[in-house]
Point group: C2
Chain length 462, copies 2
C-alpha cells in the first residue's frame, strides 16, 4: 500500500467534490420537512458504494429511514470488517449564525486548518468521516490490495437515536457477521497528536412539559395567584443539581464506576490547557461537578444538560402573559455501567415527584443508549494504532470521549464484536453547531490511514 | 336620557358591525410586521370620531404610533371629560389555540354570554371597550343631550408600555386639560354584580440574556465541563422566589403598603369561590405567596412572573446541544408606593449579582409604570357608581385590580386629575389569551351606562 499517499494526491480534487455534492443535500433526520432529502442522500451513498466497487449494494427498508448496505466478499476465509457510519445530519439552526449557508459547502482556511476546511452541516459529523471509508475502499479495489472482506452499513437516523438501526441489526445478525466494526464518528486530540476513542458516554434524552392553567392568562389579573408553569419549570430544573453540581436524582450515581487514582493520573497525561480552553469558548471560568477536572467532567462523569427550553411569549417586544405550558428538552450523558433505560425511569419518577400539586407534568422519553469501553489490547485497537503511527509519525493516545454513539453497545450485544473508533475530526470542528467544518488535511489523512488498518488487521489475524 | 335604552336597541346591529370592522385590522403594536395595520386602525378610529360628532379630530404624530385626538367643546364653563383608550392589541399567538381566526371576528354564545360574545383579539382589550365611548358619545350628540365637553385620546402603544403617550401628555397639558379622565380598560365582577376598579398594580418588565460559551456546543463533548446557560438561567430565576413564594430581591418589599386587617376584611366580602376559580382554570390547587388569599395575591401583593423563556433547540425531535445563550422575559407587578424604576434597578442589580462567573448576564429594562388608587369619595367615582346602579339595578363594588394601566399614574401627575375606570369586561373574557371575547350584553350595557356618567358628573359639578 505504498502508493496510497500518491493515489490520494492524484484524486484529491475529485474526493473533495464528491463529498461536497453529498453535503449539499440537507439530510436533517430530526425534521420531517427534510424527509425526501434524507432519502436522496441514502441513494447518493448507495451509488457511491457501487462506483467504489461493492459487489452488492441495497437500500434496506426499516420502520424509519433506509439503511444503506453494501459488501465486497473476496474470500469467506478472510476476516471481515463492518464499516458503520451515518448519512443524516443535525438541524442547522440557529441558521443566522452560519457565515456561509449550511448546505452550500465552501472550503475556507482557518487557523487550525491553513490548507482549508470544508464548511457545511455534516462535513465532519458524519458525511465527511463516513465518506473517507468509501474512498479508502475505492483505493484498495482500484489497486487490488483489499486484504479483507468488507461490509458497509450506513444509517440515516443516528442524530435521532438510531431506532431503526437497532431493529435492523437484531434482524440481520448473519448478514452483518464480522470480525471487527470500524467507525469514524469521533475526534482526535490534534492534527499533530492523533488519538483513538476507547470510551463513550451513554445517553438518556427526555422532553418535559409542565402545564399550569388550561389557557394563557393575563399576568396582571392572575399574576401571583396561579402557578406559572415557566417559573415552576425553572424551579424543578434548578433542583436537579445541588450546590456542588452533583445531580440530585435519587439512585442516579449508584452504578457509576469510580476510576482509580492511577487511571485518573493517566488521563491527566493528555495534553490540555484550561486557559486556552476557556479562551476558545470565551468563558471567564470553567464550571462543573465539584472534585473533577474538565477532562473528567466531560468524559468519565455523567451529566444533565437542558438542550432546549421554551414557553410563553418569545417574540419581539413585551407580552404580559402567564403561559399555560412550558417545555424543556433534557439530556443526560451516562458512563459505562449506567443503564440508560433505568436512568430514564429514575428521572421520570423523580421529576414527577418534585412537581407542585398546582401543575401537571408530562415526561416523554425520547431515546438513549449505553456507554461503552474498548480494550486497548484488542487486535482491532492494535491495528488502528499501527496505522495512525505510520501516517502521523506518532503513536495515538487512547481517549475516553464524552460523546455518545448508542449503537456501539448494541453492536457488541447483537453482533458479538468490538468496535474501533478511528476518528479524524477535531473538537474545534463545531459539530452540532453553526459553521461545522472538517479539515481537508483530516479528510485526506483519514483516506490514507484507513487502508493501513485493513492491512495490519488482516496480518494480525493470520 | 330616558331613550338611551331604545337608541341602543335600534342601532344594535350597526354598533356590532362597526366594532367587527375595527377588530378585523390586526393592530399588534409589539410586532413591527403589523406596523401598517396599526396605522390603519388609528385612521379608522379617527373617522369614527368624526362621524360620531367631534368638532375636531387629528392624528397626533409621536416618536412611535400616532395618538388619535378628538374633541367636542360645547361650553368652556362646563366640566370636561377626557376619554382614554387604546386601539392596539396584544399579539395573537399561540395562534393554533384559537377556535376561530383572531382577526376574523365571530359572534358565538357562551355559558356566561348566552346572548353571544364577539370573539377576536382586542374584542375586550381594548377596542370593544374603547368603542363603547365613541357610540355613547354618538348618542348624546344625536339626541342633543351632551352635558359636558369631551376630549378623546386613543393611543396605539398601550400593549408595549405607552412610551409615546407619556411623551405626548407631557407636551400637551393644556390641550388635554380636563376635570376627570374616563377609561374602560378593566373588568367587573359579573354581569349581575358590576364593580369599579379603584386600584391598579404597577409594572416593571425586563428581558434577560445569559451567555455561556461563545457558540453552541455538542452536549456530549462539552457536557458537564462548561456552564450551560439554560441550566444557569433556571437556577437564577428559581432563586427569585423562596419556599414561601416571597420574592428574594433585596429591598423589593420595602415600600409595599400592608393593608389593615379591616381593609382585608372588606376585600374578603367580594363574592369569590376558590373551587370554581380552580375548576375554570383546570388547576388542582391554587399557588402563591404564603399568608395571602387568591384575591390578595392578584391585587394588593406584588409579583414576579416569567412571561417567556427560550434557548437551545426547540424544534421537532432531539438535538444534543449546549446553547450559547438563553433568554427570558420577566415582569413584576407592583403595588401603590413601589416605584417601578427603582424596582427595575433593584432587579437588575440583584440578577447580575447572582450570576456565576462562568456566564455573562445582560438585563434589558423594557418598560413599566406606577400603581394607582382612586378615592371612592370623589365626584367621578360617585357619578360612575350612580350610573351603574341605574343600568344594572345594583350598586357597583369598588375593587383593586391586579392589572396595570401605567399611564393612569402619569395622568394624575401631569394632568392633575383623577381617573375613573368604568370597566365592562369579565375575567373570563380571555384578554391576552387565545379566544379573547367580549359579551354583546357587556358592549351594549357599556354604551348605555356611559351617558349616565356624563349626566351625573355634570349635575354633581353644578
Amino acid at each position: 500500500m505504498e502508493n496510497i499517499k500518491q493515489y490520494v494526491q492524484e484524486n484529491k480534487e475529485r474526493f473533495l467534490n464528491e463529498l461536497i455534492d453529498l453535503l449539499k443535500i440537507p439530510s436533517v433526520s430530526a425534521d420531517s420537512a427534510y424527509a425526501q432529502d434524507v432519502i436522496d442522500t441514502a441513494n447518493a451513498v448507495k451509488s457511491s458504494l457501487e462506483k467504489a466497487g461493492c459487489d452488492f449494494v441495497e437500500l434496506c427498508e426499516t420502520p424509519g429511514y433506509p439503511i444503506v448496505y453494501g459488501e465486497k466478499i473476496i474470500d469467506p476465509s478472510l476476516p471481515t470488517v463492518l464499516v458503520y457510519g451515518h448519512y443524516d445530519v443535525q438541524p442547522a439552526d440557529p441558521i443566522e449564525l452560519w457565515t456561509s449557508p449550511p448546505f452550500e459547502p465552501v472550503i475556507k482556511p482557518t487557523e487550525i486548518h491553513p490548507e482549508g476546511a470544508i464548511f457545511a452541516r455534516g462535513a465532519c459529523d458524519d458525511k465527511g468521516q463516513m465518506y473517507m471509508h468509501v474512498k479508502a475502499f475505492e483505493y484498495m479495489i482500484a489497486n487490488n490490495c483489499l486484504p479483507c472482506n468488507v461490509k458497509f452499513m450506513i444509517e440515516g437516523e443516528e442524530e435521532v437515536g438510531s431506532k431503526s438501526l437497532g431493529w435492523f441489526v437484531e434482524r440481520n445478525q448473519e448478514k452483518l457477521a464480522n470480525d471487527v466494526i470500524l467507525i469514524s464518528d469521533t475526534g482526535m486530540i490534534s492534527n499533530q497528536q492523533p488519538s483513538i476513542t476507547t470510551g463513550l458516554r451513554g445517553l438518556s434524552y427526555v422532553e418535559v412539559e409542565v402545564t399550569g392553567p388550561n389557557r394563557d392568562l393575563h399576568s396582571g389579573l392572575y399574576g401571583g395567584a396561579v402557578a406559572n408553569p415557566i417559573n415552576v419549570l425553572t424551579k424543578m430544573i434548578a433542583s436537579l443539581h445541588d450546590e456542588n453540581n452533583h445531580i440530585t436524582i435519587p439512585g442516579f450515581y449508584d452504578k457509576v464506576e469510580e476510576l482509580s487514582a492511577e487511571e485518573r493520573a493517566q488521563m491527566a497525561q493528555r495534553p490540555f490547557n484550561q486557559d486556552n480552553y476557556n479562551k476558545a469558548l470565551d468563558i471567564a471560568e470553567e464550571f462543573g461537578e465539584k472534585g473533577y477536572t474538565t477532562n473528567e467532567r466531560n468524559s468519565i462523569r455523567p451529566t444533565l444538560d437542558v438542550n432546549g427550553i421554551w414557553g410563553g411569549y418569545t417574540g419581539e417586544g413585551a407580552k404580559t402573559v402567564i403561559a399555560s405550558k412550558a417545555y424543556a428538552k433534557i439530556s443526560m450523558r451516562l458512563v459505562p455501567n449506567q443503564n440508560w433505560e433505568e436512568i430514564t425511569e429514575l428521572f421520570q419518577k423523580h421529576f414527577e415527584s418534585i412537581a407542585p400539586k398546582a401543575v401537571k407534568v408530562l415526561v416523554k422519553p425520547h431515546h438513549g443508549g449505553q456507554g461503552y469501553v474498548t480494550p486497548i489490547d484488542s487486535v482491532g485497537y492494535q491495528a488502528a494504532a499501527k496505522a495512525y503511527t505510520e501516517t502521523f509519525g506518532v503513536a495515538p493516545i487512547p481517549v475516553r470521549s464524552g460523546g455518545s454513539i448508542p449503537i456501539v453497545a448494541l453492536f457488541e450485544q447483537e453482533l458479538k464484536s468490538k468496535t474501533i473508533m478511528m476518528g479524524f475530526g477535531l473538537d474545534s470542528d463545531a459539530i452540532h453547531s453553526p459553521n461545522e467544518h472538517f479539515g481537508v488535511f483530516n479528510y485526506l489523512k483519514g483516506i490514507e490511514t484507513i487502508p493501513l488498518f485493513y492491512k495490519y488487521f488482516a496480518e494480525m489475524n493470520k
